[in-house]
């Protein structure tokens, strides 16, 4: 097979048609239409486009109609005349580069060839069906903006632009993927985003060699500095208001065409516990929610290992009445506690996964089956002990509070269970220390992952475990940008 570079556009229209046919061999979506001006029969041209990628209205109304109905006299720079006077399109470009031509056609543009011209005109005619703008299902907001990104890059960019109407907001395009040629866009606000981080990001993006990018996750995994860490050092969201607020804090967003998920970076640990509607709800309420989420994360990873350690190694720490009831329920159950625990955790995760994949009406039935059949019946039949159900249930529900951390918390949970089955509570403590040291070691584009969590400075703590009112957050996060001042004065409290 010949390389695209080996082809050349010739002066003959027929040859060009053959050329296109050869390039798009066996691809029946390529439409070729020859046109002839009704006043000037010598004026022959041909348009190529890919069926389904184009808005047919645009092609027939603004490309075909002018070519056929206008009075066109043959002259020398026919192509320029076409570009400037005939084609009614906001964006058209002349090119001789065949690979550029092919790319353009593949993206839904229309290519126009003229007889006796060795170049072609690319006319923008993209138009395809996209999903409507809906509320993302994973990031539901109680209050505040509800729109979410869809799969079309330009629509997504427009949503961000609508929120930040400033010429400081920059969108930079690049293409990644040898085969997919996916458009990605790097968005940032000039003056807020750190130059160093931006440079770093560009160099990392340029280094990516992959055949295709289908989702932003591909990029995230490529640029993750600690590839084996269970924590992600880049954030992802589907909500334009979240992206806008992160941009305003000096972060950088990366959008990928075809994915409704937008990556933001740098990303720090506490962002895992933030939610979009925190900023739309009363700040006492959202502070309580934040604390609940952190507590939920801690309890989901801690409850099972601590229970295991207490029941199998440190029975003396359990208060006597509680110890007796655990003892009574454990008696004559066949499985050792550790198997009971891990088994039920797996069952719980299976139920969760099944519930997420099922259509919603079956999902409801499933949860009833899970709760009743597997829970109550298993206890009644003395398959498992009752406290285990409570422990697994508590851990599971606490885990659902922070869906962002679900993967990480499952891994941590299993590791901690393993450690505490060997070493009891000491194992748990050692495991937690491991976790903490790991978290402190991580950084996201030079920003420590645990930024703002160990200082007792009010201005730094304002948006961590608690959310302070908007007028208090006068400074941008110190770790993120050198341009601190967010608002001067505002309300003169404090």
């Amino acid at each position: 097979m010949k390389n695209l570079q080996d082809y050349n556009i010739s002066y003959s229209l027929d040859e060009n048609i053959n050329l296109m046919k050869e390039i798009f061999k066996d691809d029946n979506t390529l439409k070729i239409k020859k046109l002839q001006n009704q006043f000037n029969p010598n004026m022959v041209c041909c348009i190529f486009f890919i069926n389904g990628m184009v808005d047919e209205n645009i092609i027939s109304e603004y490309i075909i109609k002018p070519i056929i109905t206008n009075r066109i006299s043959s002259n020398l720079n026919q192509m320029d005349t076409f570009q400037d006077q005939i084609i009614m399109s906001c964006s058209s470009e002349k090119t001789k580069d065949i690979s550029k031509l092919v790319d353009a056609v593949l993206m839904g543009n229309t290519a126009l060839f003229l007889e006796c011209e060795n170049n072609c005109l690319i006319i923008k005619s993209q138009g395809w069906q996209t999903r409507n703008i809906e509320e993302p299902t994973v990031e539901k907001a109680l209050r505040g903006p509800r729109e979410g990104f869809n799969e079309c890059l330009m629509v997504n960019l427009s949503m961000i632009r609508r929120k930040i109407k400033s010429n400081k907001l920059k969108f930079n395009f690049m293409t990644i993927g040898d085969i997919t040629n996916t458009d990605i866009c790097i968005a940032y606000i000039e003056g807020l985003a750190e130059e160093k981080i931006l440079e770093n990001l560009y160099s990392q993006l340029n280094a990516i060699k992959i055949d295709g990018i289908l989702d932003v996750k591909y990029i995230q995994e490529y640029i993750d500095k600690e590839p084996f860490s269970i924590f992600e050092t880049t954030g992802s969201t589907e909500k334009p208001d979240v992206v806008a607020s992160k941009l305003l804090e000096g972060r950088i967003a990366v959008l990928v065409d075809g994915s409704p998920v937008v990556m933001t970076l740098p990303y720090i640990f506490i962002e895992l516990f933030q939610s979009a509607d925190d900023y739309s709800l009363n700040y006492y309420f959202s502070s309580i929610n934040r604390i609940l989420r952190i507590f939920g994360f801690l309890s989901t990873i801690s409850i099972p290992p601590i229970y295991l350690a207490l029941v199998t190694q440190h029975q003396e720490f359990i208060p006597t009445p509680l110890m007796m009831s655990i003892y009574a329920s454990r008696i004559s159950t066949p499985l050792p506690t550790i198997l009971e625990l891990t088994g039920l955790l797996i069952v719980f995760e299976e139920l969760r996964e099944a519930g997420a994949r099922m259509p919603s009406f079956i999902g409801q039935a499933l949860s009833i089956v899970g709760a009743l059949v597997l829970g109550t019946a298993a206890v009644d039949a003395r398959f498992v002990s009752a406290p285990i159900i409570i422990v697994v249930g508590m851990s599971g529900i606490a885990g659902l509070i922070t869906p962002n951390l679900n993967g990480a918390s499952n891994v941590i949970k299993i590791a901690l269970i393993f450690l505490s089955s060997i070493l009891g509570l000491y194992g748990y403590i050692i495991g937690m220390t491991f976790l903490l040291i790991h978290l402190f070691k991580l950084d996201s584009f030079g920003i420590p992952y645990m930024s703002n969590l160990t200082t007792f400075n009010m201005q730094s703590l304002k948006d961590t475990a608690v959310r302070f009112p908007a007028w208090y957050m006068r400074l941008r996060p110190r770790y993120m940008t050198n341009n601190h001042i967010r608002s001067n004065g505002g309300k003169n409290h404090e």
Partner: protein, 305 residues
């Protein structure tokens, strides 16, 4: 290993945790009698000059660790000898702490060893770098202190103040001997932090770090000993091996909160891990200086096992 700067508050927390170290539980295993709490107070007061000296050394040689200072002041050969001596000393102490921690865990509840796990944890921490470690210390210190305070609040009802009397029954001499022991261990041992002084950020006043660290650490040690005496009483305090452990184990509140020595155990695990790591870190820095190894990561692995 990244050369991230370490702020003075991180140093302070690390030092307090370091002072807690094994002392929280082994405190007064030296033959202290009734007046051991006085010994601690004296020791705190007496280690202030030490703190000033250490602080001065750090100030005289800015941006230099202890090992660099050795080479600068004693020349290459003698300096290297000192480095070797100190590194071995630190290494020895680290293993000793690990040893006693495992011993405690074994006696207290678990027959089998956790040495290897802790060892791995230490390697991992050294690889993670001093910055991560000291930030961790800063996060963990309030928790440790909170736990100590919790035991005191919970045990408040069971305090028996008569155990404090009579003061200085056996005369001043044993008290002074004990306070001397306290000065050497753990207060004077804070010299290990001079090794890390090279990583200090710019507005770091080591004298202040030392004084604050020793004061806070000493204060809580003192409170800890005080609690043990008030709860356990004499001669129990002198008979049992792990005082804090026993003392907290008798705290009972309405039959529901009982056997809370796990609080002490977790404190011990955390702080002695920190202490051992500090020593090992210092030792590996020393060995690196000696043998001109570039990467601390390759080196730290060779320890511990």
């Amino acid at each position: 290993m990244e050369n991230k700067k370490i702020s003075s508050s991180q140093y302070k927390s690390l030092m307090v945790i370091f002072i807690f170290g094994t002392s929280l539980i082994f405190v007064g295993n030296i033959h202290g009698e009734e007046d051991i709490w006085i010994s601690i107070l004296i020791a705190i007061a007496m280690s202030m000059p030490l703190a000033l000296i250490y602080g001065k050394i750090a100030k005289l040689f800015p941006k230099m660790g202890l090992f660099d200072i050795f080479i600068k002041t004693y020349g290459k050969v003698l300096g290297k000898f000192f480095i070797l001596a100190y590194s071995f000393h630190f290494f020895h102490l680290a293993t000793m702490i690990l040893r006693s921690m495992t011993e405690y865990i074994q006696v207290a509840s678990l027959p089998d060893t956790s040495q290897y796990t802790t060892g791995i944890l230490i390697i991992y921490t050294i690889n993670a770098g001093l910055s991560a470690f000291s930030t961790w210390a800063k996060l963990i210190l309030p928790i440790v202190i909170l736990l100590i305070i919790t035991t005191i609040i919970l045990g408040f009802n069971q305090f028996d103040y008569s155990y404090l009397m009579p003061i200085l029954y056996n005369g001043l001499k044993p008290v002074m001997v004990n306070s001397y022991l306290f000065i050497t261990f753990p207060f004077a041992e804070t010299i290990v932090f001079l090794v890390f002084s090279a990583y200090a950020d710019d507005n770091n006043d080591f004298t202040k770090v030392y004084i604050h660290g020793i004061l806070i650490g000493g204060f809580f040690l003192f409170i800890n000993v005080f609690r043990n005496i008030l709860l356990l009483g004499f001669p129990n305090v002198n008979n049992v091996l792990f005082r804090s452990d026993f003392a907290t184990s008798i705290i009972t509140i309405s039959n529901f909160i009982q056997r809370i020595e796990i609080i002490v155990s977790s404190n011990l695990t955390l702080t002695s891990f920190a202490k051992a790591t500090t020593y090992l870190y210092a030792a590996s820095l020393g060995f690196i200086k000696l043998f001109n190894i570039k990467n601390i990561k390759d080196f730290s692995l060779s320890y511990v096992l």
